[in-house]
Amino acid sequence: MAVDVNKVYQRVLAIANKEQRGYITPQEFNILANQSQLDIFDQYFYDLGQFLRVHGNNTTFADAVEILKEKISTFEKYNATIGSGVTLPTDLYRLNCVRLNGVEAELISLKDFYRIQNSYLLSPRDEYPIYIRTEGTIKVYGHTSSTNHALSQKTSNVACDYIKKPSLVNWTYNVVLNNAIYNASASDVQHFEVHESEESNLVYTILKLAGMAIKDPSVYQYGAGEEIKDIQQEKQ
């Protein structure tokens, strides 16, 4: 389900090099490729919010919401252990769900956190755990014991579902006669992780960025124009 990094690089080079407009080095490509992937990835969440506001259809493959969910699902991680109950995964992009002993905990704002503790109907229990987010960590709370309902922070059996960050794209190469030759078998080669359908988008977005890098407005305009056309088609 990944997009081949070499395929994208070759297409970008083919378009950018047309009429000797300029050459994009592998280092530049890797930087631009990651920027493009993040742009596309980040847009998923805003698009999803937008599409959820409109009526969908009953198909899985032509419903905008389902399509976006499928694209995001590549990055979803399920039931990852949270170290000591507080340390979030290092590749976390967005937190989806936190669970204590398999029971979903609810995110509570700090404002409500102190109020909830003093409510006999709302104080957290192991069956109804809560969590708060502070300083890049989480804190999960349940009750102390079946006979003592005082608030108790839980440090074990805490797991989460989350959306991970896309891995850094890396077009790996060997230099042969002053030319960078793609090395597909390098251990650190990293393809794009976004959905296969994003291949064209990646090329356009990289071209747009590359146009600015090589100071060629025509490359930028081509990339931007194609990207806009694509967006219009998707969101009509």
Binding site: L52, H55, E106, D112, L121, E127, Y128, I130, S146
Partner: protein
């Protein structure tokens, strides 16, 4: 969609948990509500689990008070102090009875013409009233029991023979015509009680010292996790209660939607109450067959 996951052998072989199939736990109701009633293209697009939990517990409380069969009971022997603590999960009493030698429960009546007011000790030097602060902690000392209640509970009934169906003495001849107008609630020898809500105690009259009394009371079904469950007859009423409570408190919700849910809630609650009333045609028929009997006690 089979719901039973336990084999028959393990069910009947178990020492507890029988009859649990008629109930749905509060936790299941909350989870099902969040899945079915909340989401895109639904009436409730988004809600916090804490909100649903709150409304679900409130719904269970309300249904427990007058719809669910939630009467609990506690039987004990009245101690020499003539008082007992209210049950741990007590909300209100249904009735308090004394069990006679035949096992028949005789209803005790509330002593509405008396009470157990706060009574400070009054032989000291504080104020004109002569209050006492023996501990010098700024708080005046109180009597363990007010004079009012001490006097009341010291009363003895003129007749404690509960088997005397045709009780009469010559003494009554002197009161000919004077017993009309007697308050029927007091014309009994079952005994009386008084509930001191402030201190959480039930006080009994002296005639039932050492007798076995039963307190039948209602709770709110939230005391323990085991009792936080709803009979399946009232499951729909729970969902409607929660949905109504959620949407009625939501800003910009069209009033016709709120009213529709209010009606649905009322209808579901009424239906649940009717079903839980346990009205059986055969039993009613049996009772009605006795309608031609002349004298009924």
């Amino acid at each position: 969609m089979a719901q039973i996951s336990q084999t028959q052998a393990s069910y009947y072989g178990a020492s507890s948990g029988h009859g649990a199939y008629q109930f749905t736990s509060l936790r299941d109701i909350i989870n099902a509500f969040l899945v079915i009633y909340v989401g895109e293209d639904k009436l409730i697009s988004k809600i916090s689990k804490t909100d649903v939990r709150f409304h679900a517990q409130r719904a269970l409380q309300e249904l427990s008070f007058d719809t669910l069969k939630s009467v609990k009971s506690l039987e004990l022997e009245v101690p020499a102090t003539l008082q007992m603590s209210l049950p741990q999960d007590y909300v209100n009493y249904v009735k308090i009875t004394r069990t006679d030698s035949s096992g028949i429960e005789r209803v005790l009546y509330p002593a509405i013409n008396t009470s157990n007011p706060t009574a400070p000790l009054q032989t000291g030097a504080i104020g004109d009233e002569g209050f006492i602060d023996a501990g010098s902690d700024g708080t005046i000392d109180l009597q363990s029991e007010s004079d009012t209640w001490t006097s009341f509970k010291g009363q003895t009934s003129s007749n404690v023979d509960e088997d005397a169906y045709n009780f009469d003495t010559d003494l009554f001849d002197l009161f000919l015509g004077q017993r009309y107008g007697i308050n029927p609630a007091n014309a009994q020898i079952n005994g009386t009680f008084y509930i001191d809500e402030l201190n959480g105690k039930i006080h009994f009259g002296s005639s039932i010292a050492g007798k076995t009394v039963t307190v039948k009371y209602i709770s709110d079904s939230l005391g323990t996790d085991a009792e936080s469950r709803v009979h399946k007859f009232a499951e729909e009423a729970m969902y409607k209660h929660i949905a109504y409570a959620v949407l009625a408190n939501r800003a910009n919700m069209p009033e016709y939607v709120v009213q529709r849910l209010r009606k649905e809630k009322k209808a579901a609650t009424r239906q649940a109450k009717l079903r839980l009333s346990n009205i059986k045609l055969e039993e009613i028929s049996q009772i009605l067959r006795g309608k031609s009997k002349q004298i009924k006690h």
